[in-house]
Amino acid sequence: MNKLFGILLIGILCFAGCSVFASEIIQDELVKEFLLDKQIEKPEPFLNYNYENTDVVEIKLAIVDAIKSENDIYENQPVKFRVLSDVHYKGRVIIKRNTIVPAKVDVIIRSGMNGIPASIIFGNFEFEGINKHLISDRYEVRGQDRSLLVFPLKWALTFLPPTGSLTNFIKGGHARINPKKVVKIYYHPKWIMNNEQEEI
């Protein structure tokens, strides 16, 4: 009886100890409040690659709505592109002209001093029926690069301090893209292990 009582006592003490430890862990309120009730997919890494094959298919796209400046958009904003012409692979049309391709604004780089231009990096292009890992899916649009002017000017003015430093305040151009700009994305249909070959 005493033994049973002893085991019970040890058990209670252990559980109490565990709960004290658990209460010390800071929980992420943000996750609790906004994410726990959402259906979230696990991002699949791309580890079954096989780069033996050199086949590459060019996909020409154009943005649907023009972006006039990097200041008009935000990161993770959905954007739409349109396929400009039928895309063929081995004599078959794999993507039809005018197909709408959803994508996202991945990263925005604001224009900076020394003429450094702004940049918009688009990513997450989603083509129906095509494995996203087989697409070189980043496209960067850059503004006017004025650093080509700034750096030589800065060096030329080095002998007249502080005039060279004033060139720091020349800012780079804004990043913009309109529907006339052709965006090229590349599809590599065979860049995956044979047992997971794409059906096209």
Partner: protein, 231 residues
Amino acid sequence: MIKKWILLLAVVFLAIPAFGADNNEIVQEQTVQNKIDDIGTKLLNANKIQKRIMFVYDKADKKSLLKLDTKHTSRRVFLYDGAYKFTENDDEIAAFLAREIVIAAKSFDEAFKGGLNSLEIAASPKKYEVIADKLAVDLMVNAGYNPLGLITYINKTVPQRRYDFISNKNLASKRLAFIYEYIYNKYPYFLVNNEYIENEHYQNFLLNSQSNRRLLMQKIKSGSTEKVKYE
């Protein structure tokens, strides 16, 4: 004669441990080099980066102040012992390498075969620091690493400055907040299924980022798309 033999034996016995120590050090360096080669190359392959970048482990604790930093131009990623000693797992090594890969890969694009890009990164390190952090998260996820490793690594290794408006570096707390927001928006899976929640360094990040996470909460609640002014 006996004295000479004793002297010879003594010299031989004293020399053996010294060679042994050297050998151990070389083996240790080779092990680290192989590890960073494997992780670095996995990051390159899994992200389809068609640029030749190599990885170098250097025992030197600190770069010489007089030596020109060539990481933007030489397309090599240097992992110094001073940085390596902070890493606890492969996620954190991948975090360090992924950031450097982003910068090295940029030195291949645009004018003068990437020369101009390298110059711009060197002229504006503050801006590219945050870009490298964000893109490193993508590289890590594509290669199967947990991006929260980047948070713990920066939390351990980057000191908190007083101000950043006249500095060429961002406040570490700001960088961590931007990374957290990027992971929240793009890879929330890692926050919901958080393998780092009991990690002391991640807990320390949660403790120190309370005010910044509150700002992010306000942004999410209001549905705003404005850039948050993190502290």
